[in-house]
């Protein structure tokens, strides 16, 4: 077994509130191999985005890293200096965000923003860098890149901006691309194209992907392995196909069963959707024991008091439920 590209061990992220400190993320561990696409799925507030930020070294107060290790290519990076982290970002790990407009500099032409990566991280001169920026735009299939290179971000549509973001992120051939809800702000037909583009480019360059999304279907389509987060913890992680075929945690089962799926009605007629009762708990009121217990159909006394341990599943899968096995 070779060393994984990214290994996150027992990650704990603290949220400082009104005189109290909450655990926003607790005991999160996962590994991403070279060139592998890994998905982190969960609802808003489950801690998936801040997990991604911690990998990028971008946690800001009131959030802080409270424990655990983040190992990139065998080297611990959770405590490296800010300068070292800046070198890693862009060159080794890159990130794309949900809303590309906020991540692009509105006052600079997009070509220049891509070229800057080559100048900054590879010491290229500007002329050479601009030529490479044009190539990069061509790679992300921006039509007529020789003209687009001079455009400012506001002149591009949302989908085009996200393509530019991908071009910037992949410019220096990073080992890992962190994508936080990269297509949530886009229309479905555009979303499909962007996902295909990301998958294709990353496969061609051997870039590993950490994909953050609330859409289990989208993640399962793009990633080889998927972890499901609920209320700050990973409740289940499995190979992508297996998570749909044999979801093991009651939360994952509930999520998959509750979504109306295309083609289902034609096959089986209209069935009542199965519901997950209750609401997502807020961070100040996380229940004791298994955090899903107030909403779980299989809840027993042990769930209300004891945090379930990780139980191994086939193919490196993991589930945290008292009622498994």
């Amino acid at each position: 077994m070779t060393t994984p590209l990214l290994k996150v061990e027992n990650l704990r992220i603290a949220l400082a509130g009104d005189g109290v400190t909450y655990d926003a993320v607790e005991n999160v561990s996962f590994e991403i191999g070279r060139g592998e696409a890994f998905g982190l799925v969960g609802e808003s507030g489950c801690g998936k985005s801040i997990t991604a930020l911690s990998v990028m070294g971008l946690l800001r107060r009131p959030l802080s890293l409270a424990g655990g290790r983040i190992i990139l290519d065998g080297k611990e990076i959770q405590n490296v200096s800010a300068a070292e982290m800046r070198r890693l970002r862009g060159k080794r790990i890159a990130m794309i965000f949900q809303e590309p407009m906020t991540a692009l500099n509105p006052l600079s032409p997009v070509g220049r923003q891509i070229a800057e990566m080559f100048v900054l991280h590879e010491g290229a001169n500007w002329n050479e860098a601009m030529d490479r920026a044009e190539d990069a735009l061509r790679q992300v299939r921006v039509p007529s890149p020789e003209r687009r290179i001079k455009d400012y971000p506001h002149q591009l549509s949302g989908g085009m901006r996200q393509r530019v973001m991908i071009a910037i992120a992949l410019a220096c051939g990073p080992d890992l691309l962190v994508a936080d809800e990269p297509t949530t702000a886009l229309d479905v037909t555009v979303q499909a194209e962007i996902i295909d583009l990301m998958a294709e480019l990353c496969a061609a360059k051997g870039t590993a992907v950490l994909m953050i999304s609330h859409d289990l279907g989208l993640v399962a389509n793009m990633c080889q392995r998927v972890a499901v987060m609920y209320a700050g913890r990973i409740v289940e992680s499995q190979v992508a196909d297996a998570i749909f075929a044999t979801p093991t945690h009651p939360y994952t089962q509930g999520l998959i069963d509750s979504l109306p799926r295309l083609g289902e009605r034609a096959r089986r007629g209209r069935q009542k959707l199965s519901e997950i009762s209750g609401v997502v708990p807020s961070i100040a009121n996380y229940p004791a024991g298994c955090r899903f217990n107030p909403r779980c159909p299989a809840v027993t006394d042990v769930c209300r008091t004891i945090v379930p341990e990780a139980t191994p599943l086939p193919a490196d899968g993991v589930v945290r439920c008292h009622h498994h096995g």
């Binding site: 949220l15 400082a16 509130g17 009104d18 005189g19 107060r61 009131p62 959030l63």
Partner: protein, 284 residues
């Protein structure tokens, strides 16, 4: 999440100015209400030339004026004038400003253009000059003072109300109210107004300080309250000849104006933080 951190600081800031400002304003209001009981002498009738221009002493804590009247008692009674001018004129300003701002923002079109133009016009003319002109026409006196100040500085509340309406107009609950068949006025006054009251109260409070200053200025110029009944501005006006020989004549009314206006401004700032929509949602 960042709110969680900001909140304690906000609360403290809102808290201090709210309490200090509220305290100062409460003192001014209670002295106006309690004037017949806490004043030592009658502010007008108890003139005694034997006691003229005495410096502060145990008998006359703030000294006496040229006619031998107790300054302290005159300031306590004068609070009635200053505060009622401030409050009544601000109620007028708010009513005019909010009505115009609400309707202009909600209806838009030519009415909005008209109101916005009028607002800009009002902002371009110094309101004191405007009030002076009105006073010149109506003649001096309490009623004309209130009218002059009540008609000349509604542009701030109008602007605030209009801007707030524009930002609320497209909210779902406003659309829902229209769909439920609510009339325009009902929407403006039951759906929009309660949600924009916070900033309007702040503006009115700050405006009250301005009105008290304007009253002082107009009275100082002899256009406001006529002697012998005291107002803080007319007391200052009468004292200007003796400012070197009997400084207490101008210092104490000046301090009364200073602390009341300061109190109103602090109260306005405190209310702004307290009524901040973010902190109200966080309270829940």
């Amino acid at each position: 999440m960042s709110l969680a951190l900001k909140l304690p600081r906000l609360r403290l800031k809102g808290g201090t100015s709210l309490w200090v400002g509220g305290g100062l304003v409460a003192i001014a209001i209670s002295s106006a209400i309690l004037a017949p009981w806490i004043a030592l002498t009658d502010p007008v009738l108890d003139a005694n030339l034997m006691n003229a221009e005495l410096p502060p002493s145990w008998e006359f804590p703030f000294g006496t004026d040229a006619q031998g009247r107790d300054i302290y008692s005159r300031i306590v009674w004068g609070a009635r004038v200053s505060l009622s001018v401030g409050i009544i004129s601000q109620i007028c300003n708010s009513l005019i400003g909010v009505t115009l701002g609400l309707t202009a923002g909600y209806w838009g079109g030519w009415w909005d253009d008209l109101v916005s133009g009028l607002t800009n016009l009002m902002l371009a003319i110094p309101s004191l000059v405007f009030a002076l002109a009105i006073m010149a026409i109506l003649g001096p006196g309490l009623v004309s003072l209130v009218i002059a100040l009540g008609l000349t500085s509604w542009s701030y509340s109008c602007r605030i109300a209009r801007a707030q309406v524009l930002s609320l107009k497209s909210q779902g609950y406003i659309q829902a109210a229209r769909i439920l068949g609510y009339g325009d006025l009902r929407i403006m006054f039951t759906q929009i107004l309660p949600n924009i009251l916070g900033p309007l109260i702040v503006i009115a409070t700050l405006g009250m300080g301005g009105a008290i200053l304007a009253e002082a200025a107009l009275s100082f110029l002899g256009l406001g309250i006529r002697p012998p009944f005291p107002s803080w501005g007319s007391m200052l006006s009468e004292a200007r000849d003796q400012i070197t020989t009997a400084p207490w004549l101008s210092v104490f009314p000046g301090l009364a104006i200073f602390f009341t206006v300061l109190g109103l401004n602090l109260l306005g700032d405190g209310l702004r933080d307290y009524l901040d929509p973010q902190s109200t949602t966080r309270r829940g």
